[in-house]
């Protein structure tokens, strides 16, 4: 199995909102890293998780599948999911895969946090 080429850093934007900063690749090999980051982001009274894709430099269809399962897990925990930092290419992938219908997409962190 290949190593995950990603670094995910979790920070609190407020008591109820966590941000996951993603640097690197989103592929099927990052499942454990994504699960760990989401678990850390969910600690406390988290009502929303914001994914920061500003440092994303590669994503394949296995990675998109992981985002779907993460979304389901977040919904089960009563959390909203939002994202920002996607360039035009990745925005188009979110539209094509219709993930944009379930995850709010914003230009920057201020907008994403303002929507929650």
């Amino acid at each position: 199995m290949q190593d995950a080429q990603v670094v995910m850093t979790v920070r609190k934007a407020s008591d109820s909102v966590s941000v996951i900063d993603i640097e690197g690749e989103i592929t099927s090999f990052v499942e454990d890293a994504l699960n760990r980051a989401h678990a850390e982001a969910s600690e406390g009274a988290t009502k929303a998780v914001v994914l920061n894709f500003d440092g994303l430099d590669y994503m394949n269809s296995g990675g998109i599948g992981l985002l779907v399962t993460m979304l389901i897990r977040a919904n089960r925990q009563g959390q909203k999911l939002a994202a920002y930092g996607l360039n035009e290419h990745y925005r188009q992938i979110f539209e094509l895969t219709r993930l944009d219908e379930a995850i709010g997409i914003y230009d920057d962190e201020r907008q994403a946090l303002g929507s929650l």
């Binding site: 394949n60 269809s61 599948g65 920002y84 360039n87 993930l99």
Partner: protein, 248 residues
């Protein structure tokens, strides 16, 4: 002061050529004329988020000696000979240009008295994986990802992974009664046939996980696109039209 770059202005990512471009509605071209091409043209594609039934992740995998196949060999063989690996009664008509991002393939299948004509969009393709996405009316809404990767020094893992929801209430009922088992058999057969074609027949490991137990009742109306109904019930009408000959 450093100028901020808008996310949409970043350089083209490495994966850009691997993804299908913008697709609002599917268009079939370049498939064999013998394919029964129904329920694909003009349809929208669906992700696992849009279907009706419970969401499942089904994985079928096989371990091959690296000496037999690298991940790249597995995927190039799979792409080139995809249709050969399907069980009898199921036909996949690949586009003439092959399995490439944005291309559309047509599927014809028969199960007892039921007929199915549907298709798939090639959502993603690179050297070690490719993914199909299903259209409205397909038995399930979701993705099928075919991939291969290295495991340790000597093993290559080949796998097909489905992330899906049955598309409508009828498919959901069928899935519970027999569809899920039929599908398992089909993909086990496919992966085993790939292994045999690569010169390494063996066992296929199956892993099934229910990702979401909830059903999406808002998608109840998707039944109007049901491709099995439309293909099976439309067959007599198509027969009459053929007998009547071309319109003047």
């Amino acid at each position: 002061m450093e100028e901020q770059q808008h996310p949409s202005e970043k350089k083209t990512p490495r994966d850009a050529a691997n993804w299908a471009g913008r697709v609002d509605k599917l268009h079939v071209s370049g498939v064999s004329p013998e394919a029964l091409n129904l329920n694909v043209e003009g349809r929208r594609v669906l992700s696992p988020l849009q279907g009706f039934g419970q969401m499942w992740q089904k994985t079928y995998r096989m371990r091959l000696p690296r000496s037999v196949a690298t991940p790249e060999t597995v995927i190039s063989t799979w792409k080139e000979r995809y249709a050969e690996f399907w069980p009898k009664g199921n036909r996949f008509y690949a586009p003439l240009t092959g399995i490439r991002p944005g291309e559309v393939g047509v599927i014809n299948a028969t199960q007892g008295p039921m007929r199915l004509s549907t298709g798939v969009l090639v959502l993603y393709s690179d050297d070690t994986s490719f993914t199909f996405m299903t259209p409205e009316g397909h038995p399930f809404a979701g993705w099928i990802t075919f991939s291969a990767h290295e495991e340790g020094e000597d093993v290559t893992v080949a796998q097909a992974q489905l992330l899906l929801r049955p598309g409508d209430p009828i498919y959901e009922l069928g899935f519970k009664m027999f569809g899920s088992r039929t599908e398992d058999k089909m993909w086990q057969h496919t992966v085993a046939s790939l292994g045999a074609a690569l010169g390494s027949p063996g066992d296929v490991e199956t892993e099934i996980v229910c990702v979401d137990r909830r059903r999406q009742w808002s998608q109840f109306g998707a039944v109007k696109h049901n491709a099995i109904f439309r293909t099976t019930l439309g067959a007599p009408m198509r027969g009459i039209r053929r007998l009547a000959g071309p319109r003047r």
